[in-house]
C-alpha cells in the first residue's frame, strides 16, 4: 500500500521537474510579448515583470517602473493596453 503512494509522489516530482522549465519558458515568452506590445503602443513600460491572464482572456501586465496595463484584443480586432 505504501509503494503505490511512493510511486505516485515520485511521478509527481518528475512531472514538476519537467514542467517547471517548460512553464518558465512560456512565462518568459509571455513577458517578452507583453513588453513588446506595450512598447509598440507607445506606452511607458521598460520591462514587464509579471503577466497574469484574467478570466476574460485579457492579460494584466505589471512593469518594472510600476505601471500596470490590461492588455486585450477588442471587438474590432485591435490590441489595446489600458493603464490600470
Amino acid at each position: 500500500m505504501i509503494a503505490p503512494a511512493r510511486n505516485a509522489s515520485r511521478l509527481t516530482l518528475v512531472a514538476m521537474l519537467v514542467a517547471g522549465p517548460v512553464a518558465a519558458a512560456q512565462d518568459a515568452a509571455l513577458l517578452k510579448d507583453m513588453t513588446a506590445v506595450i512598447m509598440l503602443l507607445g506606452l511607458p513600460c521598460d520591462q514587464v515583470v509579471s503577466a497574469r491572464q484574467q478570466a476574460d482572456h485579457s492579460h494584466l501586465a505589471a512593469c518594472r517602473n510600476g505601471m500596470r496595463y490590461r492588455v486585450f484584443v477588442n471587438a474590432e480586432g485591435r490590441v489595446v493596453a489600458q493603464r490600470q
Partner: protein
C-alpha cells in the same frame, strides 16, 4: 588633378591595338542586372595624340571627337527574384521571434498604414504619397527591431526589401494588386 588628355579625331582610320581588345572581354563579367545595364559604348581605343596642340586642326574637324569610352567594371550579381509579398507575410506570421499579441499589434499598425495609402489613392488626401514615407520607415524599423534578434534571416529579408516594398506601395497599380 590636371585637365583630361585631349582626344583628337585622326584623319585616317584608327589602328587599334588587338591586345587591348582581347583583354577587355576577360575583365568584364556578364552584366545580368537590369539596373546595371548601360547603353552600348564603343570599346576603349588607344589614340596617339599629335605632338603639338593645334587648335586649328580641332576646329577644322567636321565631326566632333569621339568621346572616350568609359570602361565600366561591373560586379556580376545573381539575378534577384522579384519580391514575393505574400511569402513575406507568411514568414512574418509564422516567425517565433515575436509573440501573438505583438503580431496582432503589428498587423493593426500595418492595416492603419495601408488605410492611409488607400485614402490617398482615393483622393481623400491632398498631400503627395511621399508624406507616407516617414510612417512607413517607422513601421519597418519597429518590425526590424522586434525580429532581428529572434529571426535574423527574416530581418535581413525585410531590410533588403524595404525599397521594393515602398515602390509597390507608392505605385497605385501595384498597390491594388497586393490589397
Amino acid at each position: 588633378m590636371g585637365a583630361p588628355p585631349l582626344v583628337v579625331a585622326p584623319s585616317e582610320p584608327m589602328a587599334v591595338d588587338p591586345a587591348l581588345l582581347r583583354a577587355v572581354p576577360q575583365r568584364l563579367p556578364a552584366v545580368e542586372s537590369p539596373a546595371a545595364a548601360m547603353p552600348e559604348t564603343p570599346p576603349l581605343v588607344a589614340t596617339q595624340p599629335t605632338a603639338p596642340h593645334n587648335p586649328e586642326r580641332i576646329t577644322a574637324a567636321a565631326k566632333p571627337a569621339p568621346k572616350p569610352a568609359v570602361l565600366l567594371v561591373v560586379v556580376a550579381r545573381p539575378l534577384e527574384a522579384p519580391l514575393d509579398v505574400a511569402a513575406l507575410k507568411i514568414r512574418l506570421r509564422d516567425t517565433h521571434a515575436i509573440g501573438v499579441f505583438t503580431k496582432l499589434a503589428l498587423r493593426n499598425q500595418m492595416d492603419d498604414l495601408l488605410k492611409q495609402f488607400r485614402s490617398h489613392y482615393q483622393g481623400e488626401q491632398k498631400t503627395s504619397v511621399a508624406t507616407l514615407r516617414q510612417p512607413y520607415d517607422r513601421l519597418i524599423l519597429k518590425v526590424l527591431a522586434l525580429v532581428q534578434d529572434g529571426d535574423p534571416s527574416l530581418a535581413h529579408t525585410i531590410a533588403g526589401s524595404r525599397e521594393e516594398l515602398w515602390n509597390i506601395l507608392a505605385d497605385p497599380e501595384q498597390f491594388k494588386s497586393i490589397i
